[in-house]
């Protein structure tokens, strides 16, 4: 960890890490200020009220600093856990499903905090089941399936390598079956016969779109609209995990 052996030099490694667990494991009777200050001390840092104040304000907990933790809502408790993890100024922050059970508004606030942290240079390792969150937030993605790390890849690179694109052609008249002349293309007819769906690889030298459109034109099929869709990280994830 940052050049430190995690067993022999556990103090140096652990002091770099902030951990936010998935479960809301908080004290009950202590005040927000006391529990966050306790965490800072536990990680070997001298008192720094200015830093604790900054963290609590960033997490919208400042006006609750004297409240007992048991009086806080679930979302606030979650933020207290984040404040505890940030109290000792870690360089790496583990967030274990931080938005599980958190309402939409609070989730947005939380992501803003995470973005600010990332921008300040903190490495954030986020585990989540919400793939769109990872797509939205992450720079690098790791996929874990049944405890096995399948890959770790730069997000843009991953989507470029494993992502596919779809061209959907909305037909003027429904078709019963795909015309034989179009059988050589990677083309499907959707269930009600109103759309032709063409999947292609954006990384290929040729996408084949020009030839396909020419072939469709020759068959006399007319379409009224077209759209393209890039496969999401979730599609990639399902593809990866599903193949296993």
């Amino acid at each position: 960890m940052n050049g430190h052996d995690i067993v022999r030099d556990y103090r140096a490694s652990r002091s770099l890490i902030g951990l936010v667990p998935q479960e809301l494991t908080t004290d009950a009777f202590e005040s927000v200020w006391d529990t966050v200050s306790f965490s800072r001390g536990l990680f070997g840092k001298p008192k720094n009220p200015a830093h604790i104040e900054k963290v609590l304000k960033a997490l919208s907990l400042w006006d609750k600093k004297d409240n007992k933790i048991m009086t806080l809502s679930g979302g606030m408790k979650r933020r207290v856990l984040i404040a505890k993890a940030l109290s000792h100024e870690p360089r790496i922050l583990f967030l274990d499903e931080p938005t599980a059970g958190v309402d939409v508004e609070l989730r947005k606030e939380m992501w803003q905090v995470v973005r600010d942290l990332r921008d300040s240079g903190v490495t954030i390792i986020l585990t989540t089941h919400y793939i769109e969150e990872a797509q939205d937030m992450a720079d690098r993605i790791g996929v874990i399936n049944k405890g096995e790390l399948m890959l770790v890849e730069d997000k843009i690179e991953l989507m470029r390598k494993l992502g596919r694109k779809e061209l959907r052609l909305q037909l003027q008249k429904k078709l019963d079956a795909l015309p034989p002349a179009l059988a050589g293309y990677n083309l499907t007819l959707d269930s009600d016969g109103s759309e032709l769906v063409y999947s292609y690889d954006t990384q290929g030298e040729r996408t084949g779109i020009t030839a396909l459109l020419a072939a469709i034109n020759e068959t006399g099929i007319r379409f009224k609209d077209l759209s393209t869709r890039q496969s999401s990280l979730e599609d990639i994830f399902v593809g990866l995990v599903g193949h296993k």
């Binding site: 494991t25 908080t26 001390g41 070997g44």
Partner: protein, 253 residues
């Protein structure tokens, strides 16, 4: 050495004591006062001196030991059990602290609290009976060693327990009976010879005897034996705690 962590744990535990001042301090004082009323005044007035010491004064070291043992065990066991129960132990296990520092913080706080209560009881006893301490240094030494040893025992119980019931079992079913039967309220010499020998298997006898010696120079066993036995219990508790942290017993699951 992560002194900030030791201080954080110590302070956190002491803050709990301050929050629960009434049940932490006032209730032991009230129950001790009741012992004085019942044993010292009501029953003690009918008992003549024991080995030259008035009965009321004779029971003071035993009463302090009774509270010291139960409070040390209960404070330390609750201190480490509660984070395990609510799950906040994750923070302790992920922090850059050594096992020694964790023990120092929790056991130090538990021992401090029980020593404070012991001293309050001593002061309370001064209102009821005349008190003289023949060997103040050894009185403090026995107080410190006993509080430390039984706080370590409490720490072990707090890690062993998997429910609040188990947390209560040891103080209620083992420590209190052993203290009552360990010569807190009587001299072992008044027992029949057979029971005198049986009593010597009770570790509390050595603690109470040594502590009483520091007050009145009256003891059931030699003070050196008391000291040696206290050191043995201390070493035993330290060895068990070393094993717990080495194996992660009940800590990492």
């Amino acid at each position: 050495m992560n002194w900030h962590a030791v201080w954080a744990i110590y302070n956190f535990e002491m803050a709990r004591t301050r929050r629960t001042l009434f049940q932490s301090v006032v209730s032991p004082v009230i129950s001790t006062s009741l012992y004085f009323v019942v044993f010292g005044a009501a029953i003690g007035s009918r008992i003549t001196e024991i080995e030259g010491v008035s009965y009321g004064s004779f029971i003071v070291p035993g009463l302090i030991m009774l509270t010291l043992l139960t409070q040390s065990v209960m404070n330390a066991s609750f201190g480490i059990y509660f984070p395990r129960f609510v799950g906040t132990i994750y923070e302790l296990l992920s922090a850059p602290v050594s096992y020694f520092e964790i023990v120092l913080g929790y056991v130090g706080a538990a021992a401090t609290k029980s020593i404070i209560i012991g001293l309050i009881i001593l002061a309370t006893a001064g209102f009821f009976v005349p008190l003289e301490i023949a060997h103040p240094f050894w009185m403090v030494a026995f107080l410190l060693l006993t509080a430390l040893t039984f706080s370590l025992l409490g720490f072990i119980i707090g890690i062993w327990a998997d429910g609040f019931e188990k947390l209560q079992i040891v103080p209620l079913l083992i420590i209190t009976p052993l203290t009552f039967l360990g010569g807190s309220f009587y001299s072992v010499s008044v027992l029949p010879p057979f029971w005198q020998k049986v009593t010597l298997l009770n570790p509390v006898v050595y603690l109470v005897s040594g502590f009483r010696w520091s007050f009145f120079e009256v003891a059931d066993v030699h003070v050196e034996v008391s000291l040696a036995m206290t050191a043995v219990f201390l070493a035993l508790c330290l060895a068990i705690i070393w094993w717990i942290f080495r194996t992660g017993y009940r800590l990492k699951n």
